[in-house]
C-alpha cells in the first residue's frame, strides 16, 4: 500500500500593522518568511520546510503551506519577522490545519469571512 511520506500543514498568519492600507505580494511574503527561516535554521532547515505561500482575498491574512515536520520552525520564523519590504508589521499565527478544507471551515467559524471569497483555488496559488 502506498504511503504518503510527506504530509502537509497549512498555517494561517495574520499581518498586523498600524497602516490599514498596506498590502504585500506573495513573493514579498514568501521571501521574508524564507529569509527568516534561513537565518534561524540555516539552509538545511529551510529546505526541509518545503515552504509555499498561498494568498487569501483578505490582505491581512496569508497561508503558509509546509511540511508537517516543519510547522514549529515556520511558526518561530514568522514570529521573528518585524518588517516586510521595509514596512513594519507583526506576523502572528492564527491557526494550523492539515487540509485547505479545514482552513475554510475554521476561518468561516472564527474569523467570520466567506470561505469562497477568502480563499483561492489551489490551481491559482503561486508555487516557489
Amino acid at each position: 500500500m502506498p504511503v504518503k511520506l510527506a504530509r502537509n500543514r497549512y498555517v494561517v498568519f495574520k499581518l498586523t500593522s498600524l497602516n490599514e492600507e498596506q498590502e504585500f505580494s506573495v513573493s514579498e511574503l514568501f521571501n521574508t518568511l524564507q529569509n527568516s527561516l534561513l537565518k534561524l535554521y540555516g539552509e538545511v532547515g529551510a529546505s526541509e520546510a518545503k515552504l509555499k505561500v498561498i494568498p487569501t482575498q483578505n490582505p491581512t491574512l496569508f497561508i503558509a503551506k509546509c511540511s508537517h515536520k516543519a510547522v514549529d520552525k515556520i511558526l518561530t520564523a514568522a514570529s521573528h519577522i518585524t518588517s516586510i519590504d521595509g514596512k513594519n508589521v507583526i506576523v502572528s499565527p492564527v491557526l494550523t490545519t492539515g487540509t485547505m478544507k479545514k482552513i475554510r471551515e475554521k476561518l468561516k467559524t472564527y474569523l467570520s469571512i466567506s470561505p469562497e471569497a477568502g480563499m483561492k483555488k489551489p490551481s491559482q496559488t503561486s508555487e516557489h
Binding site: K39, L75, S79, H80, T82, N88, I90
Partner: protein, 215 residues
Amino acid sequence: MLKAAEKLNIKGIALPGFEDYKQLNEKHKLLNEVKSMFRVELYTRANISASSVKEAVKLVNKLRRKIDLICIKAFNKTLIDYALRDKRVDLILLEPYPNFKITASLFSLARQNDIAIELHLAHLLRAEGLPRSKLIGFYKLITAYSTKEDAPLILSSGAKNWYELRNFPALSSMSKVLGLSKEAILDSTINYPKKIISRNTFLKSSKLPCGVEVL
C-alpha cells in the same frame, strides 16, 4: 503601541515608567484617561535600575502598593542578591549578558521567595546572525536553570516599538526555541503574570501588611 496591542487581542499590558514616585499621581491620571480609549487592561510597572542596594530599597519602599509591578533590573551581583531576598519585589529583569555569573542558587532563591525572573523576547527580534545565536544560548541557559530549580520565569515581549509586540501564539512559538515545555510556556506567559497581578491588586486594595497571608 496600545492600538497594536488591541489589534493583536492582547488582554493586558504593564506600562513601565512609574519609577518616579513624585510624579505618580499625574501618571495615574494620565493612565486613567488612556484606559477608557482602548480595550486593553493597563497595569503600572516600575523598572528599578538603581546603582546601589540602598537606593533600590528606598524606591521599593516608596512604590510598594502604589503600582502593580515592581521590577528590578539586575545589573550587578549585590543588587540581584538583595532583589532575590526582598519579597516585595515581583520581578527581576535579566538583560542579556549581566556582569555576574548565572548560577542555580539564584533560581533556587527565586523559587523560595516567589520572585519571578523575567526575560524580554524583543532582544531576539533586534539581534541577527551571531549575536542572536549567542542570545538564544544565554536564554536557553536561563530557561534550563529555571526548569531545573522550578523557579518562576516570565517571558514577555519587552517591546519598545509597536512592531515588537507579540501575542500569546507568537510568544509561545518563540519560546519553543528556548527549550521550554508547553506547560512551562503557559506558566511563563499567562499563569505567573496573572498570579502576580492578582496578588498585587489584592494587596493594593487591602490593608494587610506585606507577608501576612489570608487563610
